[in-house]
C-alpha cells in the first residue's frame, strides 16, 4: 500500500505500521544533541500521525477491549525465516491408483458381521468379519497335511503387516529426499545402508590384539613355558587370571587357609556385633527365670496335691522356651 500523500511523498506500510520519509533532510544539522533529538521526535510524531490518520480511518468493529481494526497485509517485503513447506510427494500406491484410475471410496464405519449376525465396527477391537477370530477352518483338498492352518493365518498376517511397514518407510524416505517429511517424523539411521542390518565390524585396538596374543601363547599344556619364541616376540602381556591357591598342608602351627577363613568370619561377625545382645529379650529371660525360682520356692513350702500337677506342666513350658531363646541369642 505504498501511496503518496498529497503534500509530501511518504511511504506508508500499514501492515507493519511503518512510515518512511525519504525526502526529509535537515537544512542544517543541529549542533547540540538535545536539538537533534527534539527535531527527530518532531518529525517522527508527524510520521506517526500520518500512519494513525490512515489507521484510525480503517473500518473497525467494537470489542469489549476497544475498537478492533483489520490490518492490511504488510507491503514491505522481508525475507522468510524458513523455506516454504514443500508438498508431500505421492506415495507409490497413490501413483499406481492414479495410473489405474482407482478412486477413493468412503466406507461405512460399521459393517455387518456374518458370524454373529450383528453390526460391528469395521476396524479395531472386536471388529466385523475378523479372520483371526474364526474358531473352525474348513479343510480343503489343497491343504497340506501336518500344517496348522491357524498358524499359517497368523504368519500370513504378520507378513502383510511387515510389508506395509516396509512400504511406509519407503514412502517416508521418498518424502525425506524432497524435504517434505511431516514435522513430527524423523528418520534415524540404525546402521550403514551398504551393510544392511549387519553391524559394521569394529576395528581391533593394539591393546586388545596384545591381550589375545597373550592368551593364545599361554594356552598350551605348559602354559607357554616351553614354547618357541619368535624373533622379536615380547613376553605375553596378560596371562589370564592371577589366582593363587594356598597350600593345603601346612608344616607347623596354624595353617594359612584357616587364618584366611577366620579373618573373613571375624569381619562378618564384627559387622553384626551390635545385634548380638538383645536387651529386651535378655530382660524377659531374666524375669522369667526369677519367676520360676520364686514358684519353685512356693511349691516346696506348700504341701503337694493333685492340683499341682497341671501347674507344674505350665511352669515347665516357659522354662523350655527360655532355654531355646537363649540358644538363639547366642
Amino acid at each position: 500500500m505504498e501511496e503518496t500523500t498529497t503534500q509530501e511523498a511518504l511511504q506508508i506500510d500499514l501492515g507493519n505500521l511503518m512510515a518512511f520519509d525519504p525526502h526529509h533532510h535537515f537544512p542544517s544539522l543541529p549542533s547540540s544533541r538535545e536539538e537533534l533529538v527534539k527535531e527527530c521526535l518532531k518529525r517522527g510524531a508527524e510520521l506517526v500521525q500520518a500512519i494513525a490518520d490512515r489507521l484510525f480511518n480503517l473500518p473497525s468493529t467494537e470489542d469489549v477491549d476497544g475498537p478492533l481494526v483489520k490490518l492490511l497485509p504488510p507491503v514491505t517485503r522481508l525475507p522468510r525465516e524458513k523455506h516454504l513447506p514443500k508438498p508431500k510427494p505421492p506415495t507409490k500406491w497413490e501413483l499406481f491408483a492414479k495410473a489405474k484410475g482407482i478412486k477413493k471410496r468412503k466406507k461405512d464405519k460399521v459393517a455387518f458381521d456374518e458370524q454373529t449376525g450383528t453390526w460391528k465396527h469395521r476396524y479395531g477391537y472386536d471388529h466385523a468379519n475378523d479372520e483371526d477370530n474364526v474358531p473352525i477352518i474348513d479343510a480343503k483338498m489343497t491343504d497340506e497335511p501336518g500344517e496348522d492352518p491357524f498358524a499359517k493365518k497368523r504368519k500370513d498376517k504378520k507378513k502383510r503387516v511387515e510389508k506395509q511397514e516396509k512400504n511406509r518407510l519407503q514412502n517416508l524416505k521418498q518424502a525425506a529426499k524432497v524435504g517434505a517429511l511431516p514435522s513430527h517424523v524423523q528418520l534415524a539411521a540404525t546402521a550403514l545402508p551398504i551393510t544392511g542390518s549387519q553391524a559394521v565390524p569394529k576395528k581391533v585396538t593394539k591393546e586388545e590384539l596384545g591381550n589375545v596374543a597373550g592368551m593364545a601363547a599361554t594356552s598350551t599344556a605348559s602354559g607357554g613355558k616351553f614354547d618357541k619364541k619368535l624373533p622379536g616376540e615380547k613376553p605375553a602381556k596378560h596371562k589370564g587370571k592371577y589366582r593363587k591357591f594356598l597350600p593345603v598342608v601346612e608344616s607347623k602351627g596354624s595353617s594359612q587357609e584357616k587364618e584366611q577363613t577366620e579373618k573373613v568370619l571375624n569381619k562378618l561377625m564384627s559387622k553384626n556385633s551390635h545385634e548380638i545382645l538383645n536387651v529386651n529379650k535378655a530382660i524377659t529371660m531374666y524375669n522369667v527365670k526369677k519367676e520360676k525360682k520364686w514358684r519353685n520356692k512356693q511349691e516346696k513350702s506348700s504341701s503337694s496335691s493333685t492340683k499341682l500337677k497341671p501347674k507344674k506342666k505350665l511352669q515347665k513350658k516357659p522354662s523350655n522356651k527360655g532355654s531355646s531363646k537363649k540358644g538363639k541369642a547366642k
Partner: protein
C-alpha cells in the same frame, strides 16, 4: 536401515509442529548473545534490546568466543544456536579496540546466515535515564509504530540495508487484527549522516483532536542510541530470491451450506431437525388425552362392549 522416530508425547509433537516451516510466517524470534568481551555500554544495550523484545527473544548470558559472524567458519556456532533456539534473527555484541561497542545484527534463512549488518553504538542512553509519566510506559509485546526519517535510507546502500534489518527486528509480530486502544509505542529512526542512524524508543500519548483520529504525541522513554554502520553483508541474489518467496493466495476453504448468488447474494442453508411432536412435553395432561386410554378406547371400539366387560371381570 532406517528407523522412524516420532515423539512419544503430544507436547513434544506440538513443539516440533511449531518449528516446522509455515506457509505464512508471523514473526521471527531473536537470539541475543555476546562475544568474549563486551563493554558495560554494550551489556546494557543487549539487555534493553532483550527487554524491548521480551516476548520473542532468547538471551544467552555466557561468552561465545567461537562466534565471529563475518569470518568464515565463525558462523557455524551461530547457525547451531539458531537451530537450537529456533531463532532467525540475532543480535551479537562484542567489544574490541578496533571496533568498540560493536553490534552485529543478522538474519538467518533456514538456519543459515542470510545477511549481516555491523553497527557501532554511540551516545547510548538507557531506559533508566529517562523520566516520564509511568502511566505512559509501553506494554510488553504491543505493536509499535516505526518511523524512518531521512533521505539517507534511500540513497545510501548500507543504510537501506540497515533499515530493512531494523524493520524486521522492531516490527514485532505480524497480526491481522489490531486493537486501537493498545497502540502505545513508536520507534523513530533518523538518518543523521550517510552512515549514522539515530534510534529512539518513544511512548505514545493519544490526545483528543476533535475528530476520530487522535493527536499523537511522542514521549521519549528510551533506550536511545546512535548506530554507526561499519561492515555489512548483503545476501547473494539466489538466496534472496529464494527467501523472498511468498505463499500464493490460499484457495479459500469451502464453507459448507453457504453459496453465492448473482441476484440474491449470499445464500445460506439452514437445516432444522425433525419436529418430534410426539415427544414434546405438554404443559397439562388431561386424562382423556393419555395415550393408553386413547388406545384402549380404540380397542373397545373394535370389540363389542360385552366382551370388554367380561375381560375386565376375568382379570379381576
Amino acid at each position: 536401515m532406517l528407523k522412524v522416530k516420532t515423539p512419544k508425547k503430544g507436547k513434544a509433537r506440538r513443539e516440533l509442529e511449531k518449528r516446522a516451516p509455515k506457509r505464512v510466517e508471523t514473526g521471527k524470534k531473536t537470539l541475543i548473545l555476546h562475544g568474549t568481551k563486551t563493554s558495560g555500554v554494550l551489556n546494557s544495550v543487549l539487555t534493553q534490546i532483550y527487554h524491548l523484545k521480551k516476548e520473542s527473544a532468547v538471551r544467552f548470558s555466557r561468552k561465545n568466543g567461537e562466534v565471529r559472524p563475518f569470518e568464515s567458519g565463525g558462523e557455524t556456532a551461530l547457525e547451531f544456536f539458531s537451530q537450537k533456539t529456533d531463532c532467525s534473527m540475532f543480535v551479537f555484541g562484542s567489544h574490541s579496540k578496533k571496533r568498540p561497542d560493536n553490534l552485529v545484527i543478522g538474519r538467518t534463512y533456514d538456519h543459515h546466515i542470510y545477511d549481516l549488518v555491523e553497527v557501532g553504538v554511540e551516545n547510548f542512553k538507557p531506559m533508566e535515564s529517562f523520566t516520564y509519566d509511568k502511566k505512559l510506559a509501553p506494554k510488553a509485546g504491543s505493536k509499535p509504530f516505526i518511523a524512518f526519517i531521512g533521505e539517507g535510507f534511500d540513497s545510501s546502500e548500507e543504510l537501506k540495508h540497515l533499515k530493512e534489518v531494523l524493520l524486521d527486528l522492531l516490527r514485532g509480530e505480524v497480526i491481522e487484527n489490531l486493537n486501537l486502544g493498545g497502540v502505545d509505542r513508536a520507534y523513530v529512526c533518523t538518518a543523521t549522516s550517510s552512515n549514522k542512524v539515530f534510534l529512539s524508543h518513544c511512548a505514545l500519548r493519544l490526545k483528543k483532536s476533535g475528530s476520530i483520529v487522535p493527536r499523537m504525541e511522542l514521549v521519549e522513554v528510551g533506550p536511545s542510541m546512535d548506530l554507526v554502520v561499519r561492515r555489512h553483508r548483503l545476501p547473494n541474489e539466489g538466496l534472496r530470491k529464494e527467501a523472498m518467496k511468498t505463499a500464493k493466495d490460499q484457495t479459500k476453504k469451502k464453507v459448507k451450506n453457504v453459496s453465492q448468488d448473482a441476484i440474491e447474494g449470499k445464500i445460506g442453508k439452514v437445516y432444522i431437525p425433525d419436529q418430534k411432536v410426539g415427544e414434546t412435553a405438554l404443559p397439562y395432561k388431561a386424562k382423556g388425552v393419555k395415550r393408553e386410554r386413547r388406545e384402549a378406547k380404540l380397542k373397545s371400539g373394535d370389540d363389542n362392549e360385552h366382551a370388554s366387560k367380561k375381560q375386565k371381570e376375568d382379570s379381576e
